[in-house]
Symmetry: C2
Subunit: 717 residues, 2 copies
């Protein structure tokens, strides 16, 4: 027997879709929302749907109770503008003074921290009845989080707009939920940062990790060392006024702004300006390639620390966050190895290798940061015996190394699994976890794991494409970092992700609206139908293969088909799911059959029509082999379906020929790959395996087919 | 017999499409571009296509000969970035020093004016052979104009990207080619202005008329009178640094920035801050409505002029253009009539009416502007006996009143016919002309007509929608103001407009990419098919009917269907053209038949499917009657086509019933109207007129049908 308490616990820990079913089943007669309509992301810690609904009309008003300030009022005003945008209703611009009559009452206890910090209380409660919505929060930031939830609850039907009656108690699982944007490989204008801060706030992320310096560019004005930008930035940098503008914008949304100055490696652009800081004589040129480069600061000279003391001191005054990220990654020390003075220094000081030398450097930097009242954070390379316990370790290796650091008493955040530049699907990021179930930590140790950050490394993003590399996938990561650990229904995540993605557009995000624009430019035409078909089922190659397959520099245009295609094809996922259901329908093979045939016939037509399009548009030249593949895989799929639905087994010759076709199509071209190959392999193998279907249950048979369809594991060379 | 000179004259004065045919006919064997591929807009003064083509490859380089400066180099760099964007080729970032080998040689004679002025020489020549392109210009601004032409010439085919060999000599017809953006009714963020400046440069417009103050808001920081923005702007204004940023951005593109401070009327926001300047005691509140309002500055008090002297003096220092616009329109003088002190002043000074009082005011303002070294421009209300000859008259009434002013010796510019906020199609603006053929002026008089300006009044535009109200139609106006008078082939204009519209996207313009976004938000869904069908054939009501039919305030959301629909439906124009051709095919009625049937069947389906969509999305509620109309007009059209193609005459009862249906559908709903009604009337009348087709030629018959199908002229009440 479930007590109320038990049920609440249960509700807190299962996906919202399941949850609503539970309640619906128990309140079959009440006027409840159907599960398909609730679309909260991230899912709150505790949700209870109630009977009833609160209508949203042009009489909508907001009252503020207890604490109020500009940050809260402008936050409410922004929410109201978005509500107006969706409802096309003119709502009162002013806050109401009539609490009893207000549609929404916001009750905030205190300001909270003006400079948001790791310890900020972000919790809130939201209680909506058919009379009124009441949002309660200890701090303004908590209230801002609740306002986003409020807006996500908006629904509409024949009777108008409304919010379902509901009780929500919510707080984040982790206090550090970040997005790194690398503006150094490619500069991003102010409006790109602002709209991404808006999007972060919409999914309750709270740390903007601003990756400001790299081999390829130095992006923030230093008044003490102006050459950093006059020589190291191509003129593309943020003035200090602009930095302050971004910080204020972020703080208004309850988001911390943590700068990163990556040292001692990744520092070519510093050395372009100040070669005397380098470990080799120079001169240096701004790096235009992608990869790991040799230039590194010289850790053995006092001049380096004098410079950094002055520079980091200046930045400590500019950036108000308590943490400063010093990078520290990927310094291979090749310049150090070749520099006799550095070698002599190491010998004289008993420093045995480059790792220890970098530890020495970090110790010095740590002292500088402490002097300027900043806590140090760095990539996990900084972890060393001498590292003091108030430094934070930023893991790109994985939860195991993070747990290891936690056991040693270090705070840490995870980015392994959240590298959104690697073009993996949202599902994969969604299931990565800073504290996965298979890692055991004491409660005390687990507290050291502060959260995580999605990392938008900037090698292959432009202001036109960056949003589509960040969103919507980062919303899934935001849910991982906010919601209870066992919220992990992938299908339901994708259902809600599609809705959140659309809602992000109202904040100015361009991930969706630039898609067709990019295709129109490529095609030099507004008639992009066949190209859209192709683009919708290919994905950029994963990991770091793009650069190998399609080398470019940081100055190259990012306007190719690979820049248009999404990392997580919705269309392919739908196709794969349809194939799965079709095979489940063995031996009838009727489910989704006409849908699959229609889809693949469209591929065939598109493949044929792409030829003339490519002839007219040389920018599409690299898509020519993909167009051929598209026709080929469509023909393969259609034949397989024909065998299956007619119950005629395919020959092994046919199967081998088709698998060869698919293998050819599976090879990436133009740094793109089809996201439908495994499903097509399943169809081919199933057609050839029809005779074995008589010998086993349909479920066993399907498992057999799917096992065979997995691509062969690559042989080590 | 045509001499070469004659032919060049001819070439200069006919549309490019015709021109290419002429040359093609004479060079039948050479490898010339087909007319459908040239897409210059505005059409240059003189164009001669040559045999041959200049390939554009990754070896593309630019050399600069003679004069060079930052403005030229950054202009070239911007052009190269766009070329890279379209071609997906990585091109050298640096200017080449090898003139002989360079793909493009830019030869500029001198800087020209750093603050662009009315007298700037904007001419250029462009000669492209299969070896090299040479762009020559007396000034940097001329070179910038030529670079835009260069980019518009880019084409692609099976052999790659190229520019056709060509000789162009070009200069503008008018020196004043402007776009007014009203940022007072609705504030527009910096990036909106910047991308519109980019678009202006792309179509060779050269005056940004910045309408900065209104009853509804005061948008520029005054350090002398800070209350203008602290009280009069809702916090939405440009700082002086931002103004300088916009001016520099515009100057870099050869665009003048002329501010307008509209006085003595349209001044409520000034009076909110400084009620003591008003003609009635106040207090005043920022106006939220649209229309003409009473508040006006008091022209009888010295305090007013002291204020304006200080304020306009400050602005004269901020804005570097030689002209300052003082508005002067739509002051009905009601406050003046009711103010006994003003009445007494008029009596004492022999001022007989409000028009004369405003003339007195203008005289005083003129002296203030002269003191601050500015020339005055104002709406044509400022025209008065005492107006000195160096003031410029800005006409909203039409070319006749402009010519009248010119005959009196006043310079003038035209905006009548270019009011893009009134939602008329591009064709209508395109055929408006500052000096139409039917107005006779001496050469000397005609010189007074400096050009014109498109006016984007801001009552019903937001940052999301403004681009779609300006573009692409303003490109047609830009052509009117740049190209020779007899370039006026409307069909060819629309062909090129579609291409230019797409190219504007690369500059960040959102007129196209926000379209589906707005529909997705309205539908709260990504499945917008039926809504897209409806939206594609309706247009916002013309002139000022929107406000009457669908009253809103300046604080209302601009996210409704009327904000999404375009002022100039391409789809409707295509449908209407198909109907026209179908009727021309009498008595066979086969041409375009299946296309028309397909289209209207799609309307029918969409009309049906819209019901459930609207049920789910209350924001679409106002579209419900339009959905019904869509089904109804589709049924009407399909029946008519069936009669016609079967050769069965429709009865007069049927005709009357269908015309009644169309009349019902023709009534605007949700401030939208179908742009296909006249064509549908033609189909209905044609079906009923089938018997008369035996009595006359098909052409006569078609004319008869079309005459009957014109909507009845409205009876005066």
């Amino acid at each position: 027997m479930k007590t109320v308490k038990h049920r609440r616990l249960l509700l807190a820990t299962i996906g919202i879709a399941n949850l609503v079913w539970v309640i619906n089943a128990q309140n079959a007669t009440s006027n409840l929302t159907s599960p398909a309509q609730l679309s909260l992301m991230p899912i709150p810690a505790s949700v209870q749907l109630q009977p009833g609904r609160l209508p949203i009309t042009s009489g909508f008003t907001v009252a503020i109770k207890k604490y109020s300030d500009d940050r809260l009022r402008t936050g409410i005003a922004r929410m109201v503008r978005r509500l107006e945008g969706r409802t096309v209703l003119t709502l009162p611009a002013e806050v109401s003074t009539d609490e009893a009559a207000a549609t929404l009452v916001v009750q905030c206890e205190r300001a909270g921290q003006i400079v948001p910090s790791l310890n900020e209380n972000e919790s809130y409660s939201l209680e909506i009845t058919d009379k009124q919505a009441r949002l309660g929060a200890p701090t303004v930031v908590g209230a801002l989080r609740g306002l986003e939830t409020f807006l996500q609850l908006l629904q509409g039907d024949h009777d108008g707009f409304f919010l379902p009656a509901i009780r929500i108690n919510d707080q984040p699982r982790f206090p550090w939920r970040g997005l790194l944007i690398d503006v150094a490989r490619h500069y991003e204008p102010m409006e790109v940062l602002k709209r991404n801060l808006d999007a972060m706030a919409a999914v309750k992320l709270n740390v903007f990790h601003w990756h400001l310096s790299e081999d390829q560019g130095f992006r923030v004005e230093s008044k003490k060392f102006p050459k950093l930008t006059t020589l190291g930035s191509d003129g593309l940098f943020y003035t200090q006024d602009q930095v302050r503008e971004i910080i204020a914008y972020a703080h208004d949304r309850g988001i911390r702004v943590m700068p990163e100055f990556d040292i001692p490696g990744h520092s070519t652009s510093w050395l372009v300006a100040y070669p005397e800081l380098g470990s080799a004589p120079g001169p240096y040129k701004i790096e235009r390639g992608a990869g790991i480069f040799e230039p590194a600061l010289d850790p053995t000279r006092e001049q380096t620390y004098k410079f950094l003391d002055k520079f980091l001191g200046e930045m400590a005054g500019l950036f108000s966050d308590e943490y400063m990220h010093i990078g520290g990654d990927e310094n291979e020390g090749k310049q150090w190895d070749r520099n006799p003075q550095i070698q002599a220094f190491m010998k004289a000081n008993g420093i045995k290798d480059n790792h220890d030398l970098q530890a020495y450097f970090n110790q010095r930097i740590l002292k500088i940061l402490q002097k300027h009242h900043k806590k140090m954070i760095g990539w996990e390379e900084i972890l060393h015996l001498d590292l003091p316990k108030d430094a934070v370790v930023h893991s790109w290796r994985g939860p195991a190394s993070l747990a290891e650091a936690a056991r040693k008493g270090y705070d840490g955040i995870l980015s392994a699994g959240f590298y959104i530049d690697l073009m993996f699907p949202a599902s994969q990021h969604y299931l990565a976890d800073p504290v996965p179930e298979n890692i055991s930590l004491t409660t005390e140790e687990a507290k050291h794991i502060l959260g995580g950050e999605a990392t938008m490394w900037g090698e292959w993003v432009s202001p036109e494409t960056i949003d589509s590399r960040i969103w919507p996938r980062t919303a899934a990561i935001a849910e991982r970092l906010w919601s209870p650990r066992n919220v992990k229904n992938v299908d339901d995540m994708y259902r809600r992700l599609a809705i959140v993605s659309r809602q992000l557009e109202e904040l100015g995000l361009t991930h969706e609206k630039n898609y067709r624009m990019l295709l129109r430019r490529l095609a030099a035409s507004e008639n992009i139908g066949p190209l859209l078909t192709l683009a919708s089922i290919v994905e950029p190659v994963k990991e770091y293969r793009r650069y190998q397959m399609r080398p470019q520099t940081m100055l190259s245009p990012l306007t190719g088909l690979v820049d248009t295609a999404r990392p997580d094809s919705d269309t392919a996922r739908q196709f794969n799911s349809n194939v799965d259901a079709f095979l489940t329908d063995a031996p009838r093979f009727a489910l989704n059959r006409s849908e699959l045939e229609r889809t693949m016939t469209e591929w065939q037509t598109a493949g044929r029509r792409l030829g003339p399009m490519i002839d007219q548009s040389p920018a599409l030249q690299e898509a020519r082999p993909l167009a051929k593949d598209l026709s080929d895989i469509a023909a393969t799929g259609l034949e397989a379906i024909s065998y299956l639905s007619n119950g005629v087994p395919a020959t092994s010759q046919w199967r081998d020929a088709q698998l060869a076709t698919l293998e050819q199509a599976a090879k990436p071209k133009a740094a793109l790959e089809f996201a439908t190959i495994v499903s097509l392999r399943e169809l081919v193998i199933a057609a050839a395996e029809l005779p074995t279907l008589r010998e086993m249950s349909p479920a066993e048979w399907k498992a057999r087919v799917k096992a065979q369809a997995q691509p062969p594991t690559k042989q080590p060379k």
